[in-house]
């Protein structure tokens, strides 16, 4: 049995190491300030900031959320201060906290992503860039970039070219596609060092009082435990075809058991999003529980467990702790 002191919890994306595999999910931790009073941001793998656009944006009208069974819909519409204010205010503050920073960017055109990448290129203190391609492409009838292999590739190629080779690029994909492995292959061959899986599912709630769509933006993104089986499936599928590409898994994670499920499916990092809304310390709880589970199952490192569910079915195969009594709940 390994113990907490020898266990290696670190994970790597591109050339960058993170001390733990726990990341905030973009849009669920703002730029970290509000969470800092509940735990030190330096203790988790990284803060992934809310997707930032070139210009300040007011976002969508309220209501911006609807709770759904074991999930929620959101329609924020990427409200944010724009890249300039973000770089001036948020990055320096996060650095004072000794937090590792993953900056999530979003654009309306292929060029906007490249411009954002150029702005980030020389900013010190950024560990990686997450490219949120689940945004409508205004140059292509508003079709979401991540729903089209050609647009997805174009965005990542542009970012790769502009940002240079140092900062790892993580492409964040949408589950609302016929074949997520196709998009994954495209963005990886276009230069993505890692993948974030998954963004929200497109959903709608109709307010039965007003008898109209409940959200100001009509449709919204479904997140939370409700979508976990879809997210685990996506991670499993993509890891199967791209076993060497680091995946940050997310979608309904709220316990160490949930995070472990993603790791077994093939994720080498996990993000906690919606669970933060129910529990401000959720990410710390998940981190502690995940570490404990990995150690108790006899893994010497996180990386040993990554994709473990894919191993061949053979009697010779290592069967760790199958008799342990940890709950499935």
């Amino acid at each position: 049995m390994h113990n907490a002191s020898t266990f290696d919890f670190s994970t790597k994306i591109g050339h960058t190491w993170f001390p733990t595999p726990l990341f905030t999910a973009s849009g669920c931790a703002s730029s970290g300030k509000e969470l800092a009073q509940f735990f030190p941001l330096s203790e988790i793998g990284a803060v992934v900031t809310k997707s930032i656009a070139l210009k300040p944006r007011l976002g969508r009208p309220t209501p911006r959320m609807a709770e759904t069974p074991s999930g929620m819909l959101n329609s924020i519409g990427l409200q944010g201060p724009g890249i300039d204010a973000f770089l001036a205010d948020d990055i320096p503050w996060l650095m004072t906290q000794n937090a590792r920073i993953v900056v999530s960017i979003s654009g309306e055109t292929v060029d906007e992503y490249s411009i954002l990448a150029r702005r980030l290129r020389s900013v010190p203190g950024i560990s990686a860039v997450e490219v949120n391609i689940s945004c409508p492409n205004v140059e292509n009838r508003g079709l979401v970039f991540a729903c089209d292999p050609v647009s997805s590739r174009a965005v990542i190629e542009g970012v790769r070219r502009t940002i240079g080779g140092d900062i790892p690029i993580i492409a964040k994909l949408s589950p609302d596609v016929t074949d997520i492995t196709e998009i994954a292959r495209e963005v990886v061959s276009a230069g993505a060092d890692g993948l974030s899986l998954i963004n929200t599912l497109l959903g709608m709630v109709i307010n039965t009082q007003t008898m109209r769509p409940h959200l100001g933006g009509k449709t919204g993104g479904l997140s939370g435990p409700a979508i976990r089986p879809v997210a685990v499936r996506a991670v499993y599928q993509v890891h199967q075809v791209l076993p060497k590409i680091p995946i940050i898994g997310m979608g309904g994670i709220r316990s160490g058991r949930d995070a472990f499920e993603f790791i077994l499916a093939g994720a080498s990092g996990v993000s906690v999003g919606t669970a933060i809304f129910g529990n401000p310390r959720a990410i710390m709880d998940v981190q502690n529980e995940l570490k404990e589970i990995l150690i108790s199952r006899g893994f010497a490192s996180l990386s040993e467990a990554v994709g473990y569910a894919h191993r061949e079915d053979s009697t010779g195969a290592l069967q760790r702790g199958a008799d342990s009594e940890e709950s499935e709940g």
Binding site: E34, A66, I76, F277, G278
Partner: protein
């Protein structure tokens, strides 16, 4: 303008296990007392709590927000807080069904508080429905500072007026309005407002209640040039400022419209700055 102290936001917020000390029906509401230990001392009128609902295997994944009605100290339990809860949907109904001794997962205290004047002023407190809950705690504090405290409460019907006996002690005058006339005068809280503040006899209005009521009060307050602090109510997913679902359009210092988070830059906001006509409207 009257000088108002805004307390620093969420600095004392913690996630705790709070025990239900009592749960009584009062009209159409439940008056729920919970033990919060030393966090009671940090709660200010206007702050709110966020409570996990539905139990261990709940499909309700988000916390529910409730204004802190009053804070007190009990020898046996230490600090306590009182909430006034309307059984509305699944979450609040669950909360109303919790019995003495049940344990709740609570994040508290959250959000901005009503600004307290540094000198004695003439204050008018206006509450709609359960919106009166935080006003009684506020009234106590204001009275302690030597303020004159007038109160107007309104609701659709008498069962939705929350006005406890003890609370009335801190109030100089109390007027009740119901739309169906089942208690007090028939009408709305805004009916007497213009007249009451016209002669400069009110320095500051504090309000809490449905958004439509707050907007109507704001309009009148702006015309009469009276300071108006209102506690708004927008759907909140996180309650701690990270999700951006709870936004209210406000005029910023630079004169533009900004989207402020009502959980952390509110719920108590400057009524004059809220762009009531833009709430829930698409913006450019």
């Amino acid at each position: 303008m009257v000088g108002l102290n805004m307390s620093p936001i969420n600095r004392h917020a913690r996630q705790i296990e709070a025990v239900v000390l009592s749960n009584k029906r009062v009209g159409q509401y439940h008056q729920i007392m919970i033990s919060v230990h030393d966090l009671a001392q940090h709660a200010r009128p206007g702050n709110f709590v966020a409570i996990a609902v539905g139990g261990d295997s709940s499909a309700l994944i988000l916390r529910r927000a409730f204004a802190i009605s009053r804070v007190s100290h009990r020898a046996d339990y230490g600090g306590t807080m009182e909430l006034i809860v309307a059984p509305h949907g699944a979450g609040s109904r669950w909360l109303c069904s919790q019995m003495d001794g049940a344990s709740l997962d609570v994040v508290v205290p959250l959000g901005t508080a009503f600004g307290i004047p540094t000198t004695p002023v003439r204050a008018l407190l206006i509450g709609g429905g359960y919106g009166s809950a935080p006003l009684f705690g506020l009234a106590e504090v204001l009275k302690g500072r030597g303020c004159r405290v007038d109160m107007i409460l309104g609701a659709s019907t008498s069962g939705k007026i929350y006005a406890p006996q003890e609370g009335k002690r801190s109030v100089t005058s109390l007027n009740i309005y119901t739309e169906d006339g089942s208690a007090g005068a028939t009408g709305k809280v805004t009916d007497p407002l213009r007249e009451m503040i016209a002669d400069g006899s009110v320095d500051v209005i504090y309000s809490c209640g449905p958004m439509g009521m707050l907007a109507a009060i704001s309009k009148i307050a702006v015309e009469a040039n009276v300071v108006h602090q209102c506690a708004v109510e927008e759907s909140m997913a996180c309650g701690i400022g990270v999700c951006m679902t709870c936004i209210i359009p406000m005029r910023t210092d630079s004169g533009e419209v900004g989207m402020m988070r009502s959980c952390i830059e509110g719920p108590v906001m400057d009524g004059e700055k809220v762009q009531w006509n833009l709430v829930g409207k698409p913006h450019a």
